[in-house]
Amino acid sequence: MVVTVGVLALQGAFAKHQQIVEQLGFQTLAVRYADELANCSALIIPGGESSTISLQLDNNGLREAVTEFARNHPVMGTCAGLILMAQKTDSRMVTTLGLLDISVSRNGWGRQVHSFTANITIALDNGSADVPAVFIRAPRIDKTGPGVEVLGSYDHQPVLVRQGGHLGVTFHPELTGDQSIHDLFLKSVVT
C-alpha cells in the first residue's frame, strides 16, 4: 500500500517538504481541507508564519480535525509548525495545538539579520549524524516536559525534540536537501 503523508498547505514552505517526502518514496497531499486528513497516515506542519497558520486553522475548520488526527497519527512540525505543536508560546497571536509538552518563544533568536546556518549533531535510533541546519527567525524551546526527548541541540538549547510519534524541529530540514530528519520522522509512519 502506498502511504500518503499530508503537508498542511495553509501557508508557508509546504512544497519543499513535499519534494523531500516524495524523494523518500512516499505520496504527499497538500492539505487545505479537514476531510483530506482521512487520506493521510502522517502530517507535516511546515515553516511559515505561525500567526497566519493559526488563524487559517480556525478560519477553515481545521483546528479540531488536526488535533483529532494527532491522537493516533504522527505529526512533525518545523519552525512555525513546531510553535503550533507546542503546549505554550509567548506569542498572543498563536493558539497552540498542545501536541508537544514544550514552551516556545517565537523569533527566539532575533530578527532576520540574526537568522543563521550551523551544523548540529542529532541522535538517531542507531547512532548519530551531523546535519546542516538553517534557522530562519527561529523559535527557541524554553522548557521541555518529562515525556519529551531532546534529539538535537544547538548552543545548549534543544532544537530537535520527540514525544511519542511527534517530532518538533526549530530549524528547516526542508531547505538543505539533507533527508535525515524526514527519514527519522517517516520511520515512525511505517512501523
Binding site: A9, L10, Q11, G12, A13, F14, A15, K16, R32, G47, G48, E49, S51, T52, L55, Q56, N59, N60, C79, A80, S91, M93, R106, N107, G110, R111, Q112, V113, H114, S115, F116, T117, A118, N119, P132, V134, I136, R137, H172, L175
Partner: protein
C-alpha cells in the same frame, strides 16, 4: 561548520517561508495590527501608500525610522521597508533598524539612474521588482533574494502585474527549450548574467521565490496571480484604500490559501465593501508609470 549569518541561503530561506502568504503595505502601527490580525505574513512599512504617492507627487523616500520601530514593536510578523533604487545609504539604515526584508522599490523616487544597490554586501535580504526575466536576473545577480512583479503600484489595476508575470514565465519556458549553444545569445539579448541564464534553463524557474505585486485589489486578483504562477502576493493600496480594510485583508488572506477553489472564492468575495477605485492605464501618463523606474 561555524554559525553563519546573512548568507544567501538564509535570505532566500525567509522568502520561502512567506510563500502562500500576503504582505500588506501599512503606514502606521495601527494598520500593522489590522494586517497581522487579518493573517498577513509580513507588513511593508512605508510613509505613504503608492496611490497617495501618485496623487501627492513630490520626492518619495525611505520611511522614518521612528515609524518603522513603532511597527516593529506592534507586530510579531516580519517587517519590511522600502529604500530608493540605488540608495545604498538608506538600505544601510534599514539594515541597522533590523528590518527583515528591504524592498529596493520603484515606488520611491530613484536615487541612481544607472545602478541598483549591490545587495550581496548586506545581511538583510532584498526584494526587487521586475517586468521581465532579464530584469529579474540582473537583480538576482546583484543579490536579490526574492523577485516580485512590478505591476503598476497604486493603480488598483491588475493588467500590468499579469503582463509582467506572463512575460517572466514565458521567457523562462523559452530558455528551457533552447539548445545549450543558444543560451549565451539569450543572455546577451536579455542583458542577464550567463550563469543565471544557464541555471534557469536547467531548473525551469527563477532561483529565488517569485511573488506578485502592483495592482492587486480583490480576492479574484489574488487568485488570478496565484494561478498564473505567483508564489505569494504583495497588496499595497488595495487594502487600506478600500471601504473596509480589515474585512478585505482577511478575504485576501483566504484567497491566497484557496486560490484554486472557485466556490470558496465566491464565498470569500461575497459581502465585501467596495474595492479601491483604480485607474485605467491610459489615465496614467507614460512618464508617470512607476514600473518604468529601474534598469
Amino acid at each position: 561548520m561555524a554559525k553563519q549569518t546573512g548568507t544567501f541561503e538564509v535570505k532566500v530561506g525567509l522568502a520561502e517561508m512567506l510563500k502562500g502568504g500576503v504582505i500588506m503595505d501599512v503606514t502606521n502601527a495601527e494598520q500593522a495590527k489590522i494586517a497581522e490580525d487579518a493573517g498577513a505574513v509580513a507588513v511593508m512599512a512605508l510613509e505613504r501608500i503608492p496611490a497617495d504617492i501618485r496623487q501627492d507627487g513630490g520626492v518619495a523616500r525611505m520611511s522614518n525610522p521612528t515609524m518603522v520601530r513603532e511597527i516593529q514593536e506592534m507586530v510579531s510578523i516580519p517587517v519590511m521597508a522600502k529604500c530608493r533604487i540605488g540608495h545604498f545609504a538608506e538600505a544601510q539604515i534599514l539594515e541597522a533598524l533590523e528590518v527583515d526584508f528591504i524592498d529596493e522599490s520603484e515606488v520611491l523616487t530613484p536615487a541612481d539612474e544607472a545602478n541598483h544597490i549591490y545587495k550581496h554586501d548586506f545581511k538583510a535580504p532584498f526584494v526587487c521588482g521586475a517586468r521581465n526575466l532579464g530584469e529579474a536576473l540582473r537583480r538576482i545577480g546583484e543579490g536579490a533574494a526574492m523577485i516580485r512583479t512590478k505591476g503598476e503600484a497604486g493603480s488598483g489595476n491588475i493588467v500590468e502585474a499579469v503582463r509582467h508575470m506572463r512575460t517572466i514565465l514565458s521567457e523562462i519556458h523559452r530558455l528551457t527549450i533552447l539548445d545549450k549553444s543558444e543560451l549565451m545569445a539569450a543572455a546577451k539579448e536579455m542583458g542577464a548574467p550567463f550563469s543565471l541564464v544557464e541555471q534557469v534553463a536547467r531548473i525551469g524557474k527563477l532561483p529565488v521565490p517569485n511573488f506578485s505585486a502592483g495592482g492587486i485589489a480583490t480576492p479574484a486578483d489574488v487568485a488570478l496571480m496565484m494561478q498564473l504562477g505567483a508564489e505569494a502576493v504583495f497588496v499595497g493600496s488595495g487594502i487600506f484604500k478600500s471601504a473596509d480594510p480589515a474585512d478585505r485583508a482577511r478575504a485576501i488572506v483566504q484567497a491566497t490559501t484557496y486560490y484554486n477553489d472557485p466556490e470558496k472564492l465566491r464565498d470569500i468575495s461575497a459581502g465585501l465593501g467596495s474595492a479601491m477605485a483604480g485607474l485605467e492605464m491610459s489615465e496614467i501618463p507614460a512618464g508617470e508609470r512607476l514600473q518604468e523606474r529601474g534598469w
